[in-house]
Symmetry: C2
């Protein structure tokens, strides 16, 4: 039955470098970058029953303002649930996003200043003959802030999370792990 062994951990993953490329979401699970096969926000429970985010995958399927941005130093990531892009396109009745699950986890990671791994999907649009895509590990980020937005098209609330790359993330991660083993 279950053929995929997933791992949950906060911070750097041994053997994985910033810029490493993957071609299938399952690979992200196998190497330990992102524990969820399909969901955008990976989570891990804390000892006191709260929840933190381990990683996000920005596949561009939700409305993340920076999905097609050239720079990855700052990411504006849309919360999960009630997918506004598909929902509006398919004329579904959307509800407000809630601060639960992955969205709550990202907020907690901000409050507790936990690092979050960021993986972005890039489309090979530069080469017209290549309709494929790849996932690239962008490194460790901090959740700098979050806010609610009302979308003009759906009239519903979505959460947005601003993530900022940690320039010193390798060093930070090493020290963080020493403290938290």
């Amino acid at each position: 039955g279950k053929w995929l062994n997933t791992t949950k951990q906060i911070g750097c993953v041994a053997g994985i470098e910033v810029g490493d490329e993957f071609h299938w979401r399952g690979e992200l699970c196998i190497v330990g970058l992102h524990n969820d096969f399909q969901r955008g926000i990976g989570c891990i429970p804390s000892l006191d029953g709260r929840i933190w985010a381990t990683s996000i995958v920005d596949s561009g399927r939700y409305d993340s303002a920076t999905t097609n941005s050239a720079s990855s130093d700052e990411i504006t990531y849309c919360g999960e649930g009630e997918n506004p892009v598909f929902g509006v396109k398919k004329k579904k009745k959307l509800k407000d996003q809630k601060l639960v699950g992955g969205n709550l986890a990202l907020m907690n990671s901000m409050v507790d200043r936990k690092p979050v791994r960021v993986i972005r999907r890039y489309n090979h649009s530069r080469n017209a003959n290549d309709s494929g895509y790849k996932f690239i590990y962008e490194g460790l980020y901090r959740v700098a802030k979050y806010w609610k937005e009302i979308r003009a098209d759906s009239g519903t609330c979505v959460y947005k999370f601003k993530l900022v790359r940690m320039e010193d993330h390798q060093q930070y991660d090493s020290e963080w792990k020493k403290k938290n083993v």
Copy 2:
């Protein structure tokens, strides 16, 4: 993007023996048993624009009478589309199945006496601690007949296909390939 290389061929697959086990649908694609990642009926076009079936996967998600049968010598396989089991459970408005796509392919394979590979999913229900499952390659079959049924629960038509194991399938396949290379 596309990470899975699928193969389409009728008949035996080199290196694969009856009874071989697999634990994930993608494996069936990779080894060449079943070209479709998700669909139950694998197809291949003929030179004159018709379509044949290469293989079926009986995962027990449709209503195949023999899904939980002990013997695999005869299979009664439910046609694809308008899934009656899920549809009725979710109270969806179902339509009649149509003789297109994989259903048409299975009919053509019957008319032209083409062999069809059969893969069945088995649940590990004997061991209460193991909630997993596996796919087992059952060998080559012939489509012996097909018919339409009206389901009592949905009131809609489904196609049923009776497949019978070819006892001489290894020999048959060898001879068939000589003729058809």
